[in-house]
Symmetry: C2
Subunit: 581 residues, 2 copies
């Protein structure tokens, strides 16, 4: 037996006990006549002590030869500490060492195993197994495991069945690029790794399983933007004989349950807004509503007053930054520069300072009377001390630009409190979006999403106006889940494939099994999927999913620790009947 | 809302309630003046009734147009049945229908949706979504979900952390063939799908995580034997600062917990036998111990008595088939034919009947005196009425042959009771096995398995004699789990790679990251993995894993439902920089 207790277990109640601990050496402080060692394992740190009066000389010498991250087994007696450390659960005691066995040595690690390490991202990824020894990473992984378990238990208690769907499936060109797997036994054919278990969970509904969930890896061979992973984890759910309202209720309750269990936070009914409202009010379909700064459209107030920039713009729209009229010229210039950066792309920024003394100062004083500017302030219900910022341009673009400005200001003003959680539903997404490049419609959610029944008549003539029974769950400015009511009628599904530009053959070839299944009594069904990596990182108060993944890949899709992907042998290629180009 | 209750929920307590149900039409019995409909969903079957006296004519006509597997929503009142069905939880009531809405129609399904269906395996797999509607398949999937949840909750309560390890890793030629995934972003390079998370879980131990588990898909591109799947599910576990004894205890307790929760069976300490004992006594390293028929070696008693077949054999070995002396000539001939089939491969079978009247009759009467034969019977502690069956040949081969005979007899005699559960541990496996074909040693478990400390000195000279700290958990004649104490010393690991014929470069290239990790304080660690598909099927009283997998593949690795694998487009191949040969 390697240990009687973990390094987080002992306290004043264990005084005088003979114990055996095992762990890693965090630090050694050699005071000459006394040696202190911090011994660490997953559960905590326990202080070991050796001193000249009570410890044999050979043992002192042995201890002096130990180094950082050596793995040791220690026997000793629990004694009370002279100077206690109330921050550490084991801080009232220490172990008077009677024996030390070195279980393994260690080279000096390439970075310090401390909460604040000196290791850069790249080094930490290469030695991820050492990085995981650090509390922040270790605790993230434990946290992730706990959230998964809470979700599983909740859904199981609600009679959801966890079903494992296959990983070796069929490539479907719709949507993102698939990872493919050459089949040795089926010459020249390929499996694909699933981008999601979408069609399988729908087939489970056709199979009558009624309530399905799965926490499952999904795969997308995308060019990786920051904080995207080629393999990611989804909490995937589907229900039969439900409408949108049922899904929203069930998964709102799940989310409330998680927030309560994990954060001790009780949240009342989640707000629901439409996609149109979200775009108009936040310029964004995943608004962070922990703070205000809602958009106000100013066409009526500010156009036609002789300011040509606004007069020529499709939309003039602004936000009220409360208590910020004291922004200096320099600060305003910095914001102007921000909106003019290529990634935002605005041509300029107009401000109206509603000063504490109720005077008004604006960058467009020339064009607008003080009364007019006061009217604008009133439109925002602004108070003295507030700052109004205005952009203009083409509707969609200016909304996106103002949304970025709003988020930037929230960061600057510390309005994005990581301890506050503000979920909301965004509903009534458009069914389709027009792709200028390919000159065809794409499914905004996916091709299996049902149009709103009242909009079905528009499908033929005005498809762009058709709203979907699709919904997103947004938390603190991040989409953490999304789903839809599904089409379960084979004719509407065929019409949908047609709208999306699939030929009959393509639809049959790729989704024939689903269309076929719909011939045998498909029930009404709907579902949702949560991005588990994202969910966990937001619950953890962070926004980098990589910190919550044990072995993440870098932006080139590489695992730098194991050095994958890698070349494979000629024999392997031969067996798979493929050649490199 | 599609329903107020499920089809399994209503009973006599709900009398007179107005309810709405949704489900599939199982049967319609049209008696002219009365129509009975069985409505089915995941939860059960509820009987609907329409009759001339209480139902509007139009509704009767509408009901007559419904067909099997139509999806309908029904409104009505709960009434008491005239003739109750005590076997069905809803059997005391029926629904007097007031409205029916057809939610979806159905073609006639290709096989009947009944517990005993008329559909063959192939048809059922093609229409798996219909097969899943059948109780046996549906219940298997629910059962699987339940077992997974029990395992997760148990391990979580024991402070195990579930960590998701990556699916896109690196190909390692050791062991079975990998499935590979061409990387688009890393030209000419490939990921591999994991055969198990072995190295990652060891790295998690190096990372200090201490207790890890994961229920995870694994992949092997093997030529598929019956009842093997290219993707399969493993319950994968690893612990630090443990010895073999700790692992056996923890996972024996897990197994007991599962058996108790799932089957209500309490089992005392599991027996432990060594690999050597298992081979000598059962001819098999995964013995079914629900029944006896232990091997007895008869070289001393039966060789050198003038029966040349035995005299020339390396091993003479037999079993006692209790109460079977009344086997007829025909039955014995059938057994003889069985052992002579190519898959068994014995050259003949010797019997000794110890008759009820204490007389002895044997196929080798000519060569052995009645006293000698009685001595053989005594060796087996046989009683009058028992039948002794003996094979001979080369030790390893004859053991395997006799093991097959033992299992065949157990089947014939119904000794393999699916409701009985007899787990045991097999320990002390050999570290290595010699492969005649490649003229080198293979790791019997895997290359990371630790030799027994007392056998390490044999590593250089007599590697075949080295025993491993490796163990299997066997249940009812199936290996359901296996694992080992791992090497955590980089020098022993290097020696092991050397023994297995890896060059330094190969070892470095394939497992460099692990060898490197071992330089930074690897703790002693050990683990186990359970074959989850197998475990669930055995707990379910069956031995076909396919019945417990939602969407299994056939023996050619094909999913016949979605028709995968499939050809992919030239563009896809182009992007991946590969060509078909």
């Amino acid at each position: 037996m390697y240990r009687t207790h973990t390094c987080g277990a002992l306290n004043i109640k264990n005084l005088k006990e003979s114990v055996t601990l095992s762990g890693w050496i965090q630090t050694i402080r050699d005071k000459g006549f006394m040696i202190y060692i911090d011994l660490r394992d997953r559960y905590g740190i326990t202080q070991l002590i050796l001193d000249e009066t009570r410890t044999p000389k050979e043992l002192m010498e042995k201890a002096r030869k130990l180094g950082r991250e050596f793995v040791v087994q220690v026997k000793g007696e629990v004694i009370e500490r002279e100077s206690k450390n109330p921050k550490n659960p084991t801080g009232e005691i220490e172990i008077l060492v009677s024996d030390i066995t070195t279980l393994n040595t260690s080279q000096t690690p390439p970075f310090t195993i401390e909460d604040k390490t000196d290791g850069g991202e790249e080094l930490r990824m290469k030695y991820r197994y050492l990085d995981i020894r650090r509390n922040p990473v270790k605790n993230n992984l434990i946290f992730r495991s706990k959230v998964a378990q809470i979700i599983r238990n909740y859904l199981s208690s609600e009679e959801f069945i966890e079903v494992e769907t296959p990983y070796l499936i069929k490539s479907t060109p719709e949507g993102a690029r698939d990872f493919v797997v050459p089949s040795r036994m089926n010459e020249k054919q390929f499996y694909a790794l699933p981008q999601s278990p979408q069609t399988f969970k729908q087939l489970l509904m056709v199979g009558g399983l009624d309530k399905y969930f799965q926490i499952v890896k999904c795969f997308r061979d995308e060019d990786l933007r920051a904080d995207r992973q080629p393999e990611f984890t989804q909490v995937d759910c589907e229900m039969s004989f439900v409408e949108q309202e049922d899904i929203l209720n069930v998964f709102e309750n799940l989310t409330k349950h998680i927030l309560k269990e994990i954060k001790g936070i009780e949240i009342d009914t989640f707000p629901r807004i439409t996609y149109d409202y979200a775009m108009k009010t936040y310029g964004n379909d995943k608004p962070d509503i922990r703070f205000g700064m809602k958009f106000h459209e100013l066409n009526e107030l500010m156009k036609g007053e002789g300011f040509p920039v606004f007069d020529n713009a499709e939309l003039v729209v602004g936000i009220n930054v409360e208590n910020s009229a004291n922004y200096t010229r320099k600060q305003i210039d910095a914001l102007t520069n921000f909106v003019k950066t290529p990634q935002v792309g605005a041509s300029g920024l107009v401000y109206i300072k509603y000063n504490e003394d109720s005077s008004i100062k604006s960058s467009v004083d020339k064009f607008y009377s003080p009364e007019k500017l006061k009217q604008v302030c009133d439109e925002f219900n602004a108070n003295p001390g507030d700052l109004i910022l205005i952009l203009c341009g083409e509707t969609n673009k200016v909304r996106t630009q103002l949304s970025m400005l709003r988020m930037e200001l929230a960061e600057q003003l510390n309005l994005r409190n990581p301890k506050e959680f503000a979920p909301l539903w965004v509903v009534d997404f458009p069914l389709l979006e027009w792709d200028e490049e390919t000159k065809r419609y794409h499914a905004m959610h996916h091709p299996f999403t049902a149009p709103k029944p009242e909009d079905i008549s528009l499908l033929t003539d005005k498809p762009e106006q058709v709203r979907a029974n699709a919904y997103d769950l947004v938390l603190n400015g991040n989409e953490i889940g999304g789903g839809s009511v599904r089409i379960y009628d084979k004719d509407i599904q065929a019409q949908m494939f047609d709208l999306l530009g699939f030929s009959k053959e393509e639809a049959e070839n790729q989704f024939g099994f689903l269309m076929n299944a719909f011939k045998y009594g498909a029930p009404p069904h709907a579902g949702i999927a949560f991005g588990f990596d994202r969910l966990v990182s937001i619950l953890g108060g962070q926004e980098t999913i990589r910190d919550f993944i044990a072995f993440p890949k870098n932006n080139s899709g590489r695992d730098v620790m194991i050095d994958a992907p890698a070349y494979i042998s000629e024999e392997q290629l031969e067996e798979l009947n493929i050649k490199l180009k």
